[in-house]
């Protein structure tokens, strides 16, 4: 539980971060809230030469309504997402899901963008932004680009953010009055999800049912075809490839996906 040696640089601007990332390539790691990175360093699962600390870049911490979207700075703490009146009004799924991330201490340190860019398929926020249809704003040496959520989560702990790039902002559509739900199945309140289901209107996303968070396209198709929540939910495990671990095997995860999807759809329809 002691990290391997590394150099530490506190970045003073986004440009500074980018220049460090260009300089060090895959030998650099960006530190924001540290809630995922520090355990990884301590367990020596990663041994970067340089840790670039962006946690004091206030320019990356904000929640702003911009037209039909809400823009969230990548270094916004979970707690700020939970407490945002704009989000509570326009995108109520996000404050609710953010309130389930880790425990109170984690939510005060961990960042919205950090959780997403970590790409953990068992995390809560990736499934939520997938169901919302979020857009990711990424800055690199060649400039700024926007990536839609389905293309952002590329593989197990791997996202579209390149090693010389930085996630700047996440844009989510404003959906006031639209039904939503998040069903998270855990053994304990503060755990990662064994399986979780996010529903926004008729869009459904699954956490921990594959190497990445994924849309339950078969469920969405069934709903579009007029199926009831219970009927559509039967398709929730289609196309998934969940892991088997000590909490759940593949079959049980598939079963949970069906049960939780039905519950999420029923709740969303009632909101």
């Amino acid at each position: 539980m002691i990290p391997a040696p590394f150099s530490y640089v506190r970045a003073d601007s986004v440009d500074h971060v980018l220049s460090l990332l260009v300089e060090h390539g895959d030998e650099a790691k960006v530190l924001a809230g540290g809630q995922s990175l520090l355990p990884i360093l301590k367990m020596r699962l990663a041994r970067p030469e340089v840790v670039v600390d962006i946690s004091r870049l206030s320019e990356l911490a904000y929640v702003r309504v911009e037209g039909d979207e809400v823009a969230i700075g990548a270094a916004t703490r979970h707690r700020e997402v939970v407490d945002s009146a704009d989000l509570q009004r326009d995108v109520p799924l996000l404050p609710y899901v953010a309130s389930l991330v880790g425990d109170r201490q984690v939510r005060h340190r961990g960042t919205f963008g950090g959780s997403l860019v970590h790409g953990d398929p068992a995390a809560d926020l990736p499934a939520a932004v997938l169901a919302l249809g979020a857009t990711f704003v990424i800055q690199g040496p060649a400039g700024r680009r926007e990536v839609p959520a389905p293309e952002f989560f590329q593989d197990y702990f791997q996202t579209a953010v390149g090693e010389d790039e930085l996630l700047l902002e996440i844009r989510v559509p404003r959906v006031p009055g639209v039904g939503w739900a998040y069903e998270k199945f855990t053994r304990r309140a503060n755990d990662w999800a064994i399986v979780a289901v996010a529903a926004v209107d008729n869009r459904v996303a699954l956490a921990n049912m594959s190497m990445t968070p994924m849309r339950a396209v078969a469920v969405e198709a069934a709903l579009a075809g007029g199926a009831s929540a219970a009927q559509a939910a039967q398709a929730a495990a289609e196309g998934t490839s969940p892991v088997t671990d000590m909490h759940a095997d593949e079959e049980y995860r598939g079963h949970l996906a069906r049960v939780l999807t039905e519950r999420a759809l029923v709740t969303a329809a009632g909101r």
Partner: protein, 754 residues
Amino acid sequence: MSIMGTRVVRVEDPRLLTTGAVYTEDLRDPRLTGALHLTFVRAPMAHARILSIQTADALAFPGVVAVLTAADLGMEPMPPAMPMFTQTMTTSLLATDTVRFVGDAVAVVVTETAYQGQDAADHVHVEYDHLPALIDLREAASDAVLLYPQAGTNTVFAMGPAELDPELFAGCEVVVTQEIVNQRVAAAPLEGRAAAATIEDGRLIMWVSTQAAQDAKGAICRWLGIEPETLRVITPDVGGGFGAKIGADPDHAVVGAVARHLGRPVRWTETRSENMVAMTHGRGQLNTVTIGGKRDGTVLAYRLEILQDAGAQPRIGAVLPALTTLMAPAVYAFPKVEVKARSVVTTTTPTAAYRGAGRPEATHAIERGLDLFAAEIGMDPGEVRRTNLLPAFTEPHTTATGAVYDTGDYAVALDKALAASDYPALRAEQERRRAAGEEKLLGIGLSVYVEITGQAPASEIADVELRPDGSARVLTGTSPHGQGHATAWAMLVSEETGVPMDRITVEHGDTDLIPVGGGTFGSRSLQQGGAAVRQATRELVELARQRAADLLEANPDDIVVDTARAGVHVAGSPDAGVSFAELAAKEPLQVHTTFTSPGPTFPFGAHVAVVEVDVRTGKARLERLIAVDDAGTILNPLLAEGQRHGGYAQGVAQALIEEVRYDPEGNPETSTLATYPFLGITDVPSFEPVDMATPTPYNTLGAKGVGEAGTIGATPAVHNAVIDAVAHLGVRHIDMPTTPMRVWSALRAAEAAS
């Protein structure tokens, strides 16, 4: 006004909540100036022969002072300390030729700073020749793979009859049998293990995070082969132990060995990952329960066959089946009880005491077994228990396994628990949900228990001094690590003398200051350590009366205690008095005494657990825990309830969620707190303790032990409740922990069978 039995707030807390505790790692003692830091090199595999250890690369790392192996430190294999263990199962402090569990200590790296250690340790190259892992207890018992070939067996310890009685269940109308797992769990105290060592005037001085400094001293002396007068053990603040910090571990002795070898101060604080694999684990029994009786609910015979997982080394865990055996008859008047026990070694972390240590296993086996018997004959679990309970007794009762219970009234405990939970209403609500086809089913589980506390040692010392400045100082052989002894012992002195609580200090855990002491474990402290403090205080008051009689020229019989002035006066003449401080100013006023209990005490109680099980996902959630715990007379309800609440949480967690797991190759799967689950405050309801107090005659306080009641009563109640919730669907048994997937799988299997 007496403060006995009142909720005196903890005198420890202002310091703990402001400047904080001083744990072993926090020590800034000048004798540890410039201390080196020790990092263990631990085996990454379950079972292997060590072919070579290359230390050259590690030595080249910055800050490395030494890399030491068993050979460098002259460590030789030694037989186990307990004479009843297989003596040919020899182990050394650092492995000499074989590693037997992931985490087994192979070498140590000694560095100038703590962070330098892990880098160098990663470069100690140990060449291993793999040997087969041994995880399954039955396979271990078969001796097909031997962990200690020279022993010719994997059995460390066995007790009970050579042959089972073929007639035990003769005449029974119904016989049920079930294999029941009491899974391995981790103690995982907030403060892990730690030690610091230095040499002072040729003596080894060690600070150890322990529950018993005197035991730690004895163990370290034995391991290092040094004389008692050459070692002093000091206990700083200790952040929890739960039985896993009784005495010392071999790792602590290694710290002392390195300090002696290098002649320099050395410190070691384990990391959490290290703690999870290298601190002893608890429980780990595979129990086969057989109950026979009549259809009217009368049990005629009970058999318990215990297979205990000792882990890789013969430590305390291997002897715990003796306590399970002793407590097997539990609260019941079964005519025949037969227990056969065996402890085997496996390629896993060694086991030792864990909150309850052998007694929760006994309670769990019979309480789960009785529910199976009740289900078989179609009788209410409460009614089956009532049918078989021992009647109330005030004279000692000797059980089939030789336990001598002091006092008990089990039927009243059960009645109180059932009444406080409104048991009939719970059953009605359960039935309503079942009939309505609701997804959230209700489960109700019972346990009635008796346990043994203060078993060993039977004696404890206390040293009380009243000082000229009006203060009092207490030395105790017990060893608080969260329980609140400083508060409780001060209450006892203040009550007898009138010395204010905030003028009383309690000291413990320094073997030079307190050479003899039993430490704190087995729920012994108040009934022995507290009783000793009261005895010492009363002897001291008697001494003061004698001296005051001389001073006041009165008959000693006429001298009465005057707590208002913290002194004494002549009966009927309050003005003719003298304070203890004034007496102490003339001549030291101090008493050292030893209290010996006539025997262990047997607290008891009854728990009712109410769980909600989601029939679609299998997830069980505890809704209520109503708990009657009778630990005799309560000195301070605040402290006693604290012990009960903490115990409940741990007991509930074993039933629902906690489990140390290994894969088939013996690799730990739960070596971080991300993978090893506790229940937190958000996962349990507000507990509902119900009071009952049947004093013991064995000490003047009437006190029995309460520290382990929670884990003994709660685990089987919650376990039974989860199964009760789904029993109507054809589920007979689910092993602990009753995880969602296990419950779901049991439901599916029952559905397929019907």
